[in-house]
Amino acid sequence: MPSKNSPKSLKILVIDDDVVTRKLLGAALLARGHAVTQVCGLTQAGEAIAAEIFDASIVDLNMPDGNGMEFVHLVRRGLQSRNPTMTIAVCSAYAAPRPSALLKRLGADAVFEKPVPLDALCALIETGNQRQAA
């Protein structure tokens, strides 16, 4: 049920191999009225973005079967990406400067350090990115 402070319900993909982070983010986004799909790795994420159109995604940088950089590439340049302009937020236990810069240039909209600042994350997702505006 959409709450008052979220104007629009979005479809969001949450990708993290850590079940706690995943559930936590999922619950927070759900509470704001969004539809959330949770997957636990890059392989499943690739299948999800090929099957459905998501407005935004939140992806962990380090996962056992791949990493967040590969996901950003998969969304922006992948052959089966159904929405190449979706908003992408990358989360990492530690956002080193060089990987963060690479992520941005690959097309990530933001890189957050864990624990993820929920307000900033929701603000980003709900306003969308410039790719979608264009």
């Binding site: 392989t43 056992p64 791949g66 089966q80």
Partner: protein, 511 residues
């Protein structure tokens, strides 16, 4: 938890360029415990390996079917008749496979399109049939008997190989669409050469070549963010980091060949990476012999460095590793059990000791050992090397270190795919020689991480075991490691495995 975690791939390479990143990795233990694991990614599939696998399966099927048909249809009274029949089947199989290969039946494109693949199999079958007919008529076979065999062999082999193609083709198409068969490429360079390469590669199907990004070696910040749809990702330092994260297959250097100094600087940085390094020959006026080039799309490339032990070699080595490791575990299980009991009885603490070390592509792997020190003193990062008479070592510890029994649990690392049986020894992250980190001491140190580390190695059987306290010792070891990588063969591996027990007899170097 799910299928994908079963692959257990380490996802975090340690940056070879900024020590700050490496020390950070030490702090986040959690990350590593879950990321230590095998090296086959669940996403990328080598098209070369797929093709080769299909070819081997086809050959095996043809041989089996040929023999079955031959021995079902006819009686073989003498040894001579049997030998003659078997030779005939082998000749037919050989001709079939050679013709099919030359007709392109094992190119990934035809594997993905079953009907064009089946057509090529048909041509091969016809060719093989005629060659066999001609050869055996010359050898005095009966024509009617031969025709019967050829027809039966055609019917069976085309049905079964064709059906296999239809199934395989479905997967190949699916993998192709998901980009899993593509060669992952990064381009580095500048100017018109770089643009020309990106332009040409943009015309190749992305199912075949996935250009992940380009890098400007002169770091021209005013440059655009994308060229032919490919993002500009930074400078040469960024490339080194990026190719570790992405496991880039091929790095293309695109700049005028006359820019010798720039080329030299770039190659010096890149050769330690586990990737193929190629120089674009697109805009060079020099036209070498055609054979001097390899092709990617229609970009001619000069092969500069090849990724060692890759593709089919990697498959062979992995399979042999696991089979031998499993056999050794069974054979040595009494020794391991006894060691475990002794450790338990001697001092308190767990039997196993885990330490994070550099693995393939600078990724961290968790290496298992039997514990040889008192628990309060185990050294996670091996900042302080063990010396003779070290008080941190337990009584049992001294014995198992001396006999190298403490290394046996690494056979389980081999089963998991973190280690190979043979390779450069995995070094601890903070290991030092003469108070300097190894990669500061030895130029090209990270080049040893282009292959999986091993339980034993070339350096070890050549007498370079034990302490690495001096610069000379670590230099000699890296030199041996590089020699091994450059000269790898399955036979070299087997030789090193066979020689290892003898090198253990000289135990003066292990404390």
């Amino acid at each position: 938890m799910n299928a994908s975690t079963a692959f257990n791939q380490p996802a975090r390479p340690v940056s070879g360029i900024s020590p700050a990143d490496a020390s950070k990795d030490d702090a986040s233990k959690d990350d590593v415990s879950k990321s230590a694991g095998g090296h086959i990614t669940s996403r990328k599939i080598s098209s070369e390996v797929v093709a080769r696998f299909q070819k081997s399966l086809d050959a095996a099927a043809l041989l089996t079917l040929g023999l079955m048909v031959e021995f079902a249809l006819f009686d073989h009274l003498t040894l001579f008749e049997s030998v003659r029949a078997i030779s005939l089947v082998m000749l037919a199989t050989f001709t079939f496979i050679v013709v099919a290969r030359e007709a392109g039946a094992y190119s990934i494109a035809h594997l993905g399109q079953p009907w064009s693949g089946v057509l090529r199999l048909g041509i091969s079958a016809a060719a093989a049939g005629f060659v066999v007919m001609a050869a055996s008529l010359a050898a005095g076979f009966d024509l009617a008997r031969l025709t019967l065999w050829v027809l039966a062999w055609w019917a069976f082999s085309l049905t079964i190989l064709g059906a296999a193609r239809l199934i395989v083709g479905k997967y190949i198409r699916r993998w192709g669409q998901a980009g899993r068969l593509a060669v992952r490429v990064a381009v580095v360079g500048g100017g018109r050469e770089l643009e020309a390469v990106l332009d040409r590669l943009s015309r190749v199907s992305r199912a075949e070549v996935d250009v992940c990004g380009y890098f400007d070696d002169r770091g021209n910040a005013r440059d655009k963010t994308h060229t032919f749809g490919v993002p500009r990702l930074g400078d040469i330092d960024d490339l080194v980091e990026f190719s570790r994260w992405f496991r880039i297959d091929t790095v293309i250097v695109a700049m005028p060949l006359v820019a010798e100094n720039r080329l030299w600087v770039i190659l010096k940085r890149l050769w330690v990476m586990p990737a193929n390094i190629r120089i674009s020959a697109l805009s060079t006026r020099l036209r070498f012999n055609r054979r001097a080039y390899s092709q990617l799309g229609d970009v001619p490339l000069l092969d500069t460095f090849d990724r060692p032990i890759s593709e089919w070699d990697y498959v062979v080595k992995s399979v042999v590793d696991r089979i031998l490791a499993a056999l050794m575990i069974v054979a040595l299980s009494p020794v391991m059990l006894a060691t475990m009991i002794a450790i338990r009885w001697d001092s308190k603490g767990s039997v196993l000791f885990r330490q994070r070390r550099y693995g393939f592509n600078n990724e961290l792997v968790e290496v298992f050992k039997f514990r040889s020190m008192y628990i309060d003193n185990t050294d996670q990062n091996a900042a302080k090397l063990v010396t003779r008479g070290d008080p941190r070592v337990t009584r049992v510890g001294r014995f198992i270190r001396k006999t190298s029994l403490d290394e046996l649990p690494q056979l389980f690392n081999v089963l998991r795919g973190d280690l190979s049986l043979v390779g450069p020894r995995p070094h601890a992250l903070k290991a030092k020689a003469a108070d300097r980190l190894y990669d500061e001491v030895v130029e090209g140190y990270f080049a040893r991480h282009r292959v999986k580390p091993g339980v034993t190695g070339w350096a070890q059987i050549k007498g370079w075991r034990g302490e690495t306290d001096t610069t000379e010792k670590i230099e000699a070891r890296v030199e041996h490691d590089i020699y091994y990588i450059d000269n790898w063969s399955l036979w070299l591996d087997l030789y090193i495995i066979a020689a290892t027990p003898f090198s253990l007899l000289n135990t003066n170097d292990a404390f």
